[in-house]
Symmetry: C2
Subunit: 264 residues, 2 copies
């Protein structure tokens, strides 16, 4: 058919998934009408699909009548990339024990870093990310370290975009950022200083997998600790090596990869 836009919400599957994704934006529970708006579907269609999703436990309905993502979905999704996360978790925990600081492990997903593991220190560091959350690469230490070791074309592709500024300290000049990445590669670690949130700084080292960069392992600290950040490098490097060893046998091409731009 000579429709206007490309196949957007044509198939039933796409409608179902659009409904699920509608919950990604708002952190609060959604009413049926809101879901319909968020997914761009007519109300009655939304109603029917939502009902079925609820039956299966993929959505759940609160007392107020609003919907949320169901625990069933969460439970099922725990199996995604489980090998990797199970293998890495104990080591991230070790890192936390060794340093006492907020410890995190992140991978690249498209143009952002996705945090797959995180242990919060007792000190109240301004929290910018969470497990399952994303942040731009150029503002975070884990992101920078991944970018620094990433293949050439990824790096250039990234730098050719408009880089958003999170705080006044975020580095967004492509030229200077490129230099910084080179330096990171030389010294083997990346740092940030209040580039994503005021009050916190971070440091990260690469985690390799099959020769390529696989993930970033890092710490978040209070800005006041910035001067002594590097004393954690031995711990970071040691744990990174352990993670590399423990995950070497796991095929994670499937985890990363694709991130093919999908139609909104």
């Amino acid at each position: 058919m000579a429709g206007g836009s490309r196949e957007s919400g044509r198939s039933v599957t796409s409608r179902v998934l659009a409904i699920l994704e509608a919950f990604e934006q708002s952190r609060t529970a959604l009413s049926l009408t809101q879901i319909a708006e968020g997914s761009g579907l007519p109300l009655s269609t939304t109603h029917r699909l939502v009902a079925e999703l609820t039956d299966w436990g993929f959505l759940s309905r609160g007392a107020n009548g609003r919907y949320q993502l169901g625990i069933r979905l969460w439970e099922l999704a725990q199996n995604a990339g489980r090998q990797l996360r199970d293998a890495a978790r104990p080591f991230v925990q070790d890192l936390f024990s060794l340093t006492g600081e907020t410890s995190q492990l992140a991978v690249r997903e498209g143009h952002e870093v996705l945090y797959i593991e995180r242990i919060y220190g007792t000190k109240r560091v301004p929290r910018a990310s969470r497990v399952g959350g994303r942040l731009p690469m150029h503002a975070t230490a884990v992101g920078k370290v991944i970018l620094a070791y990433e293949e050439e074309w990824v790096r250039t592709a990234y730098l050719n975009r408009q880089l958003e500024r999170s705080t006044a300290h975020t580095h967004i000049v492509p030229g200077r950022l490129a230099e910084e990445l080179d330096q990171i590669r030389e010294q083997g670690y990346a740092t940030t200083l209040e580039e994503v949130r005021l009050g916190s700084c971070s440091i990260a080292v690469p985690v390799f997998h099959t020769g390529r960069i696989g993930a970033g392992l890092g710490l978040v600290l209070l800005t006041s600790q910035a001067g002594t950040m590097t004393r954690h490098l031995p711990a970071l490097r040691g744990v990174s090596a352990q993670i590399e060893r423990a995950t070497a046998h796991i095929p994670l091409e499937s985890l990363l990869g694709s991130h093919a731009a999908r139609k909104t």
Copy 2:
């Protein structure tokens, strides 16, 4: 393909969800044919739906051509019950710091406990559960403590089923179990001794929410520590109280509830 009385996949939605759930059993990546078998769908249908799910990142295809649940799904699902988990996590971590033992938080999902948070101790306790995993209620301390404080009809319904035996020490006699539950209620905590895995024991206290039992908070220890388990009770109770306070305002009817028996 045997018989045709399979009343399963009527709607497209159900087919899609069946495909996703096919991944719950096997921890390894699945081939297209395996998915078709696991979900009970014809191959060509499976092929089409799987392709679309892959486009959206809900499934991902490994180098070997096999499929896995996609990280996109995991990321999205992190939003399910996030309020609750985010609120509880730091306290579970506190519990771990205080005790140094494997700490866990679980809720009831149907006739099983679902672990929503868990921090592994350094000591190598036989691991029976994981975050996102389930275990029968009568074999675990968190399960027993939840059951003990659960409404009458839930308890009786549970005891009227055939209780499976995990180890030789699992209590499966309904009468004796009922007595045990009464006692748990009296003393305010539950324990197990090698009832789910040989070599480990556990202790748990209730976490209340809006008057009703909401979750179970527990520790897993080596059997050798069984004698001194109760010394952790103050920590458990203290943390439990903190969790109760921190989650009091969160509506979690939506999280629990339903677990309506669905067609297999």
